[in-house]
């Protein structure tokens, strides 16, 4: 089945039957179990490591920083994060020692039998708090990355403004809550080191393994196992576990498996960046944005990791889908002594879009305008320039997209109905509101150009076709979508196309499975590689494509038949990293989400009772999978908005159990009604844009705007737990 059709998931049956092998399902002869001894505090210097004399340590494999054969760092954007702590540590649960043992019970006793003595150092808890010199750990001021975007003359705009409206907004950390905790299996042999495990980006893992082990890419092999969810949580952290498992395997001379349990996973691995965003907005008499100042601070945690690019996507989405000629956006990613915050679906955009879309409603209320009308006056129109100077030329009518969504949600009728309801009910309050937003598909700025992704499509002698990419199936349906693109482009049958398991010794580097890029960027490369393959067999005789492949192989025995495609920057796309000017993304998916809520003033609980998710996505490749992506993202974002509260103690998560970290069940979610608009883009296969992250961006502001509508107040912080709503109403200005 080709593009636009509901093909069942190619990996579905194996997962339903329990046949898919996740990393902990792999049975390996003589495997040792590995575990990690971690730091007990937010910052300090290790003075002594005490081993319980009652434990037979000769039975254990013990690895510390001196066992790292290459560089003792986790190679990412920077190299500041050690693979294993030497003396000084910067966050709680930082890895210090690795232990391995044949018996999981003995391993457990071993971990409990190591005590770290340390001298505490002053820690940074709050990225907004004033710094003392003894807390500086990076550069002159603990700022990992600064980004400035400027357009027009902001000061002049504020001088002639009819209204100037300010607001500060905060968002909390969020745990990915993938079903399968992180894990890796490492083996070493004469051919080198092989690491198998749960991951999004095999070539990222390969790069950091090579650096830490001091080996070449031919001596290290990375293979993805079936992955039970990731959401960004398996973008950078798998490199850490892969290095650890490989170090133990090398020292032990035996295979080693490290599988985190839920508590260790929640405590030690990444979360969504907490954020603080301040808006100052100049508006003219006609209700138009004439000047915008946005300041963004992201809590990056203790090491740089991916924070510079998370900040980048955040500031690039900070002005959303609105036109304004005078703009100053300033962003900073700052160090705190928390475990590094990392990639999470949306990658900085949900944070700045929460602030923006909440602020738009707050402005509308102050001006006495309906929030939809205020947006209508300011949405981008063809030819408008976005904050970086990118010209809006998608041809999508954003006003119509928004009005259609409001219509689907019966916005006007419900507003009237809820006014009457709220005036009469003793303790229930109902509200309805929206968020209008976009998400840039693919890597930011020149990222895709630097990645230079490559895809192969191979025709085998039996007439089948194999799509070879490094992109991972993690539950989102990537393999199905890439197969559909190949089937559609080549005009072959479903069963003739298979997608390769990502294995760095078999597949080319088509880039990481992140940034809503797989369907659009990699899918387009699959389309081009298929065309390249088709061109090779073009003159070969045969009634079907399969026959042509078979005939080609008969004529070329022992040779490989491979169609190739490599990313080329489209000539009309320009980006300047130095000035942050140009086309930040080749294209965007656009959306309006409308939330209906009911607030119970007995319990301060918020229930979302209806949800309309309407978006323009270029082209839908698989309707059921696309709807599933949207519904899943909306559910995850509703959790972020009202339920999911990461409680920090010494900078690290304290509520590391699903009993205390609450994600929504189906009972806590409304019907999520999904609507697609399709306006094909030239940058994706069949016109498709990326949609993986889009649904994470809009629900939080839509839901909180609806709560504000219900209670006639202005809320500035999520998660809006009942406890926080109670406190807010106690101190509220009820503006």
């Amino acid at each position: 089945m080709g593009i636009g059709e509901d093909r069942p998931r190619v990996d579905g049956l194996d997962k339903l039957r329990g046949a898919a092998a996740y990393v902990d399902d792999l049975r390996v002869e003589g495997v040792l179990h590995g575990a990690t001894v971690r730091t007990p505090a937010a910052r300090g210097r290790i003075t002594r490591i005490h081993f319980d004399p009652g434990i037979p340590w000769n039975e254990y494999v013990i690895v510390d920083h001196r066992d790292v054969p290459g560089k003792n760092h986790v190679a990412s954007i920077e190299t500041d994060q050690p693979a294993l702590v030497e003396t000084e540590f910067r966050h709680k649960y930082e890895p210090v020692l690795l232990l391995a043992h044949r018996s999981p019970a003995a391993l457990r006793k071993g971990v409990q039998g190591v005590r770290l003595e340390y001298e505490p150092l002053p820690a940074v808890e709050d990225p907004l708090a004033g710094l003392t010199s003894d807390r500086i750990q990076h550069g002159p001021d603990n700022v990992f990355k600064r980004i400035d975007i400027r357009k027009g003359d902001v000061n002049a705009a504020f001088a002639r403004a009819a209204h100037v409206i300010e607001g500060e907004y905060r968002t909390g950390a969020q745990e990915h809550a993938y079903i399968e905790p992180q894990g890796m299996l490492a083996t070493s042999g004469p051919d080198g080191v092989t690491v198998r495990g749960s991951m999004q980006c095999p070539y990222y893992v390969l790069k950091s393994l090579c650096a830490a082990l001091g080996r070449s890419e031919r001596e290290v092999r990375v293979i993805q196992t079936a992955t039970g969810g990731a959401f960004g949580g398996k973008e950078d952290y798998p490199s850490v576990i892969a290095i650890h498992a490989a170090l133990l395997a090398l020292k032990a001379g035996a295979p080693v498996k490290i599988i985190y349990d839920r508590q260790e996973d929640m405590a030690a691995t990444t979360k969504r960046h907490p954020s603080w965003v301040r808006h100052r907005t100049a508006i003219d008499e006609a209700g138009r944005l004439i000047g915008v100042e946005i300041e963004v601070v992201m809590d990056a945690g203790a090491y740089v990791t991916l924070s510079p690019v998370v900040l980048s996507r955040g500031v690039l989405h900070a002005l959303g889908p609105y036109a304004c000629e005078n703009v100053h956006i300033h962003g900073e990613a700052r160090l705190t002594n928390s475990p590094p915050y990392g990639a999470f679906r949306g990658f900085g955009a949900p944070q700045t879009l929460f602030a923006l879309e909440r602020h738009m409603d707050a402005i509308a209320r102050r001006l006495g305008l309906d929030p939809a009308e205020f947006r209508r006056r300011n949405l981008l129109r063809d030819g408008d320039r976005m904050a970086t100077g990118q010209v809006y030329r998608d041809g999508v009518d954003l006003t119509r997209l928004m009005d259609d969504a409001l219509e689907h949600a019966a916005y006007a009728q419900r507003r009237e109905e809820f006014k009457r309801f709220n005036a009469s009910h003793p303790y229930l309050r109902r509200g309805i509101a929206q968020a209008t937003f976009m998400h840039g598909a693919g890597f930011t700025g020149s990222g895709e150009t630097m990645l230079a992704s490559e895809v192969w499509v191979e025709g085998h002698a039996d007439g089948t076709v194999e799509v070879l990419t490094a992109n991972t199936e993690m539950g989102q349906g990537a393999f199905t979508v890439l197969a559909q693109v190949a089937v559609d482009t080549l005009g072959v049958k479903n069963e003739q196309v298979k997608v390769a398991v990502p294995d760095t010794h078999r597949v080319p580097n088509s880039g990481p499975t992140v940034a809503s890029r797989t369907t659009m960027v990699v899918g387009k490369l699959v389309e081009r590689a298929c065309l390249d393959l088709a061109a090779v067999v073009d003159g070969v005789a045969g009634r079907s494509f399969s026959e042509k492949i078979r005939a080609w192989h008969q004529a070329h025995p022992g040779e490989r038949l491979v169609g190739r495609a490599k990313y080329k920057t489209p000539p009309e796309i320009h980006w300047d990293d130095a000035t942050y000017q140009g086309d930040a993304y080749p294209c965007y998916a656009w959306a309006t989400y409308v939330a209906t809520v009911e607030v119970d003033l007995r319990t301060y609980g918020v229930q979302v009772t209806d949800f309309v998710a309407s978006q323009e996505v270029g082209r839908v490749i698989n309707p059921t999978l696309a709807r599933g992506q949207i519904q899943g993202g909306v559910a995850q974002a509703i959790g972020w908005a009202i339920l999911e509260n990461v409680v920090l103690k010494d900078g690290a998560m304290a509520n590391t159990q699903f009993a205390n970290y609450i994600i929504p069940t189906s009972n806590d979610l409304p019907p999520i009604r999904v609507f697609f608009e399709e306006q094909p883009t030239p940058y994706g296969p069949g016109g498709a844009k990326g949609i993986g992250e889009l649904p994470m961006d809009g629900p939080a502001p839509a839901v909180i705007n609806a709560v504000c509508d219900a209670l006639q107040t202005s809320i500035h912080e999520i998660p809006l737990t009942p406890e926080r709503l109670m406190e807010h109403l106690d101190g509220a200005d009820h503006d």
């Binding site: 007995r602 319990t603 301060y604 609980g605």
Partner: protein, 278 residues
């Protein structure tokens, strides 16, 4: 870890007085398993009750409902007569965890574990339940509202096993239970309340607002005296003598006490409406 597996009650009671140290009785295991990954040591001894015959009964007579030591929430949900006779027990059972927990978790375990957030205890307490404790020496019956002595503390001696729970049948004119968790299902109570009214008067119990599930006797006395309320604050000032909530990972003391009084106030306010009935 050592698991003792007696196949009759006498043997189980004898194992509780063995000189090797007192084992921890385990029925459904739903409380013990939650903490399993964080256990300190592996030398705990368990007394597995799963092979002891006769502990899973659920007997409804004219006078009382008798719940066995290994009777699960699911057993009660499925027993139509008992669920109808004690609707709050059925409601509480449905509010505990997910179906997997409801089919394993036991009423007696809910009591023995002593969690201040226990949903089952809340419902049993407003029905005036009592706990039957048996040891090799004696059998005694303790009212549930006198069973707990502190956080996870009770009058149960280490040699005693909860062998049954007895819930007397009375005619009720009002039965109500409300649980506030962090989400609508599969959540531990942040605050919960149950109320009944019979010819013996009002009974009010609350969970997650004191070191153990407790009766709110000051409020009961006021209700029995015919007191009515014009604001949640009035309910709260009475409750302050009955409860002492704390702030922990799940919620705050202020939230718990305030929401408890608001739930009660608005429920009582509904009774005053013409459609209400007591």
């Amino acid at each position: 870890m050592k698991v003792l597996q007696p196949d009759n009650l006498a043997e189980a009671l004898r194992l509780l007085v063995e000189p090797d140290g007192t084992p921890v009785p385990i029925a459904g295991g739903t409380d013990l398993c939650v903490h399993w990954p964080a256990r300190d040591l592996d030398n705990t001894r368990f007394l597995d009750l799963s092979r002891v015959a006769g502990l899973s009964r659920l007997t409804l007579t004219h006078n009382a409902l008798e719940i066995g030591a290994r009777t699960t929430y699911w057993d009660l949900i499925c027993a139509a007569d008992a669920a109808k006779a004690f609707p709050l027990l059925a409601q509480a059972a449905r509010l505990v965890g997910a179906i997997q927990i409801q089919t394993r978790g036991t009423w007696a375990g809910n009591i023995a574990n002593g969690s201040p957030a226990a949903d089952g205890v809340l419902a049993m307490m407003v029905y005036g339940a009592s706990v039957v404790l048996q040891s090799v020496r004696e059998t005694r019956e303790v009212p549930l509202d006198e069973f707990f002595t502190g956080y996870k503390q009770s009058v149960r001696r280490p040699d005693e096993l909860i062998v049954a729970i007895r819930v007397p049948r009375r005619a009720y004119t009002f039965e109500w239970l409300a649980k506030v968790g962090a989400r609508r299902a599969q959540a531990i109570s942040k605050v919960g309340v149950a109320m009944t009214r019979s010819e013996n008067g009002w009974r009010v119990a609350a969970n997650s607002v004191a070191p153990h599930v407790c009766r709110c006797r000051t409020l009961e006395a006021a209700l029995n005296a015919g007191r009515t309320f014009t604001s949640p604050q009035e309910v709260r000032s009475l409750l302050s003598a009955d409860v002492a909530a704390i702030t922990d990972l799940r919620s705050t003391a202020e939230y718990r006490e305030r929401v408890l009084s608001r739930l009660i106030f608005y429920r009582l306010a509904e009774l005053d409406k013409p459609s209400g009935h007591v």
